[in-house]
Every structure is written in structure tokens, then in C-alpha cells.
Amino acid sequence: MREITYLQAITEALREEMQRDQDVFLMGEDIGLHGGIFGATKGLFQEFGPHRVRNTPISEAGFVGAAIGAAVANTRPVVELMYVDFTMVAMDQIVNQAAKLRYMFGGKARVPLVIRTQQGGGRGNAAQHSQSLEAWFMHVPGIKVVVPATPADAKGLLKTAIRDDNPVLFLEHKLLYGTKGMVPTHDYTVPFGQALVMREGQDVTLVSYSYTLLKALQAAEALANEGVSVEVIDLRTLVPLDLPTVIASAQKTGRVVVCHEGHKRCGAGAELAALVMEEAFDYLDAPVQRVGSLDVPIPYNGNLENKVLPQAEQIIAAVKAIL
């Protein structure tokens, strides 16, 4: 174990999987010599060369589609989209093609494709570079959705994603890249569909993931000081979803708040709230609460942006509303 950043953890996972498997190669804008706009592929071009670390033109629909074709044709492409907002340019390929090929072909094709991208606000990047779009992809059967919050998970989940024979959307968060955490040195993976109880508590369950998990933990700490015992769950993957862990916690605490940075309307929290209601209605002492971004595009101005994105204060208020 040693302490590294979330970004370094991503790079390590890419490097180790490329060393391990010749079929793994990378495509994306500016990922070559420069090492990616956020630095996730730093050094990989130098190590693996232009054959395996490929700069692409600005043609997201084209190179995501090409990655799907390459995946079907026995390689394991890992594509970087600079911002999740640009998945929109490649949406047909992701939703109508990658997610559906295997099923439509009666199980005859495999699409071992990873699309890595980063999302989220907080840096003043405004409406077209700050979205959190995980819910869009949760809605589509056939694509896995991964949302790591810590460096150790970023590495272990990315390795699992690359070894998975299905299309995986791997959603990093721009504000997590610089965060540090302990990461094992040996080869390890983190399985999909296993949530982690980050903090045990009795009174209320906070369900979260990605960057908002850090805010949920802050809120839990603040509430603990006021004598409220909060359980915090990191979902880690949204598809597949570890519902049993969430339900067990809901049964114990009787109160659930789902927190994420995606917009509240039709966000992941809506699905979670419905599932908890379906599976644990009799155990609930209060309606499930949702904390998400306000339902407006992310504004440029910093004060406004902070109001739109969920903060620890909103999570605390949501908890207090049902205590």
C-alpha cells in the first residue's frame, strides 16, 4: 500500500492492463505525447507507442463507433472522452450500437469496450462541460456504469472494466483527480456490483457515489457531532447495482437519503428511491429523500454554480427533514 492520487490510480490501471494484455489499446483526443488533458495517460505513449496509444481527430461518433467495431473484432479498446458532455456527440454509437449489439445478435457478439470520461462541476466550466450524466446511461440496458470515488476503487474498478467482456462507461470526476488515498501495490481488482459501507450508523442511511460521496461523509461527520448516527454507502457501480446492501441498511435505519451530483429530476436517486420503496417500504420511517443538482443547466458564475451543485449543507438539511 502507498498513497497515490485518483489520477495516478487510473494511469496505473491502464498501464498494468496494457502490460498484461496485448489486445488492450487506447484511443482518444490528446492522449498521446501530451498524456491527456487531465493527464490520465501520461507516459503511456512513451511506453507503448503510437500503435497502442492513439490520438484521434475530434470525431467522437467516429472513434467511439470504431472502438465498438474493434471490440467486436477481438480487441479490447479503452476510449477516453475528454468530458462526459461529449458522449452526446457519440450517443447513437453508445446507446443504439454498443449497448444493444450482443442482445440483438442473440448473444453472438461481445463488446469488450471501456469508455472512460470525467464529469461534474465545481470548476466554472459552465453548462456544456460540467454535467453529470450517469442516469442517462443507467436507463439503457446493456451498458455498465461505474462511478468510483476513491483512488483504490478507481484502479480496481478500471481493471475490472477492462477485463469485462461488455461495454462499460467509466465515469471519473474532475474534482477527484487530485484526491489521495491508499492503493495496494499488488495486482487487484474491485468487482462490479459490490457497494461499500464507508461508515456505519443507526439513524439514517446516506447512499452516494463519486465526488458527492465525499460531501456525504462530511455531512455524516457534522451530523455525528450533533448526535445523529449516519450510515454512508458508496455504490461504486450503478449498473450493476448492489441493492441488497442498500436494502439491508434501509431496514436497519428506516431512513434513506440518496445524494448525487446529477440533476435531481430523473437522477439515479429517483431509481434508488423507487427500489427502496418497493423492497423496504415496511421498514421506512420516512419518505426517501433525494439530494441532487438543481434542475437548471450548470451556470458559469461561481456563486450560482455552488448553489446548483449539492453541498454538504443540503445533505444535512435533507437528513434533518426526516429525523
Binding site: 498521446g32 490520438n55 484521434t56 481527430p57 470525431s59 458532455d85 459552465a126 451556470p299
Partner: protein, 322 residues
């Protein structure tokens, strides 16, 4: 050349205004007053100024992530533009858009854009509206070399060609898309060659020569206004700054940057032209420079003194309210 002395001096003044504006923006960015990403137009001023000098107020443009120059050249005010960069309530987008989304509908600017090439079909649609409504307005789409690899770029040119839309496609080929050299990302040497696929004229001009840009734009705009359809103009130019603040520029040599700055600077070269061929005295150019500097200072003061947007305005403008 049919340009009056006043028009020539206007072009000089506008290029200088854009450059000083951008230099001030760098300072605000460094001070943390401008957030997020900001892409500078320094070195490329002749393109926006040359093209917009061939347009009327009611003509449309769409801009890019590198949009301050287009915005000002199309006639936007310095103070509201700077205020938008600082996220102020007085800015063109009330502080909600910022550098990458600045728009001024009153001067026909349908907006900068955070999505590469996304403005190209939008300008095409503005041209469609002009044709549909029977006005003689023209639309211009500005975009970079990198944008011409997007699907919508090709789809737009084809649409405009088959419908003979009144539009001019203006490529600012500054040799790079962030770190990727155009020679590695494009199947052609000149973007203008791509016009052949759509059976429209494609011309290459020195994008650092404001008069060459103007001439090409004037011809294309006239063609569009007369109902003869679209033109693709490729302006060869260069961005002086990194793509983003702190860009190590591993993709180009300091020597290359130095050469462009020293031998092909659009403002310096135009000043020389004005003095040597236009009979303009250095004193006149100095005077313009002082005036521009005073205007930038005043716009900056306005922006700094302006209020932040209020929280109560957060939900405003998601929809048109009835």
C-alpha cells in the same frame, strides 16, 4: 481595394482591441477572476476582423470556444463582454455563460460554443431561416481545423450545398487542435479541399492578412447574398498562447511560435502596411493604441464594479416565461 481610410483604420483598431482585450483577460484569469477554461484569440485577430468587416449588423455568426474575437468583431460591447467573462450580472449572458458561451443576439452572434463544431449546423440553420423568410441576411460559421473532422461539419456543408444556403464557412486553421497537429488529424493538407466533396468553392487565404481575409469574405458573402450558395474559406493562422493556461505545448517548438510572432503578426504587419502603403502616420496609430487601452481599462472597471448575479435568478431563463 474599395476600402476607405476610415475602414482600414477601423480594422486596425478592432484587431488591436481584441488583442488588448485578450491580454486583460489573461490578467483576470491569473487573478482567479475568470473561472473554468478560457481560450485566447491572440494571433488570429485578422480572421474575425476581416470576415466581420464584410458583414452587416443583421447578418449572423456562430462562434467557437475561442470566441472573444468573433464577438467583439461582430460589434459587441467591450464592457458587457468583459463582464460576462467575470461572470457578472451585467454580462451578455448574465454571468451564466462565461467565456465559452458568450453570445450577443443583438449583433447577430448566435454564440460561442463548448462543443467543437456544434456552431456549424446552427449557422447553417440561421442561413436556412434567412432563405426561408426571404431576407438577404447571410450567416457565417467560424470553426477550427479540428472541427472539420466532426460529422456535423460535413453534414452541414452538404445541407448548405444542396439547398444553396446563404452561408460562409470560415475555417481558422491554426495548425493544431489542442495538442494534435492538423497534419496528423486531417486527410487533406488544406481544409479548403474538403469543399470539393460538397461541390462548393473552397479558397485558402493568409489568415494573418486582414485584407486578404476581407477580400475572400466579401466575395463569398456577396455570392451568398445573391443566392448562389455557400463558400468555404480556409484562413491559415496561428494561436500564440497555449490551448489552455499552463499548456506545456509539447506539440510545437518555441522556435515555431517565435517565427509566427516575429514575421507574421497580423497587427504588426498591418500597421506596417498602413504606414508604408496607406499614408497613415505613426502618430495616428499611436493615438488609436491609447484610445484602445483607455477603452479596455474602462470596460474592465465596469466589469469589476458590476454586481454578481443573484441566487433568485437561478431558475430564470431555463424556459421563455409566458
Amino acid at each position: 481595394m474599395d476600402l476607405s481610410r476610415d475602414q482600414l483604420l477601423y480594422m486596425y483598431r478592432m484587431m488591436l482591441t481584441i488583442r488588448r482585450f485578450e491580454e486583460q483577460a489573461i490578467e483576470f484569469f491569473t487573478q482567479g477572476r475568470i473561472r473554468g477554461s478560457m481560450h485566447l484569440y491572440i494571433g488570429e485577430e485578422a480572421v474575425a476582423v476581416g470576415v466581420c468587416s464584410a458583414l452587416r449588423l443583421e447578418d449572423y455568426i456562430t462562434s467557437t470556444h475561442r470566441g472573444h474575437g468573433h464577438c467583439l468583431a461582430k460589434g459587441a460591447r467591450l464592457d458587457y463582454t468583459m463582464a460576462e467573462l467575470l461572470g457578472k450580472a451585467t454580462g451578455y449572458c448574465k454571468g451564466k455563460g462565461g467565456s465559452m458561451h458568450i453570445a450577443d443576439l443583438d449583433t447577430g452572434n448566435l454564440g460561442a460554443n463548448g462543443i467543437v463544431a456544434a456552431g456549424v449546423p446552427i449557422a447553417t440553420g440561421a442561413a436556412l431561416a434567412a432563405q426561408y423568410r426571404g431576407t438577404d441576411q447571410v450567416a457565417v460559421a467560424f470553426f477550427g481545423d479540428g472541427a472539420t473532422n466532426q460529422g456535423v461539419w460535413h453534414e452541414s456543408l452538404n445541407l448548405a450545398a444542396i439547398w444553396k444556403l446563404p452561408i460562409v464557412y470560415v475555417c481558422e486553421n491554426n495548425l493544431y487542435a489542442i495538442t494534435v497537429p492538423a497534419r496528423e488529424a486531417l486527410s487533406v493538407t488544406d481544409v479548403a479541399e474538403r469543399a470539393k466533396s460538397y461541390n462548393i468553392p473552397g479558397v485558402v487565404v493568409d489568415g494573418n492578412d486582414v485584407l486578404q481575409v476581407y477580400q475572400a469574405a466579401r466575395t463569398a458573402v456577396q455570392r451568398a447574398r445573391e443566392g448562389q450558395g455557400p463558400t468555404l474559406i480556409e484562413c491559415k493562422t496561428y494561436r500564440y498562447e497555449g490551448h489552455y493556461k499552463g499548456d506545456p505545448c509539447v506539440y510545437r517548438s518555441p522556435e515555431e511560435v517565435r517565427q509566427w510572432k516575429e514575421t507574421r503578426d497580423p497587427i504588426k504587419n498591418f500597421a506596417t502596411f498602413l504606414m508604408e502603403k496607406g499614408g497613415v502616420s505613426p502618430q495616428v496609430l499611436d493615438q488609436i493604441q491609447w484610445e484602445v487601452e483607455a477603452e479596455i481599462a474602462e470596460a474592465s472597471r465596469f466589469a469589476l464594479d458590476s454586481p454578481e448575479p443573484e441566487e433568485e435568478n437561478l431558475y430564470e431563463d431555463v424556459f421563455v416565461s409566458c
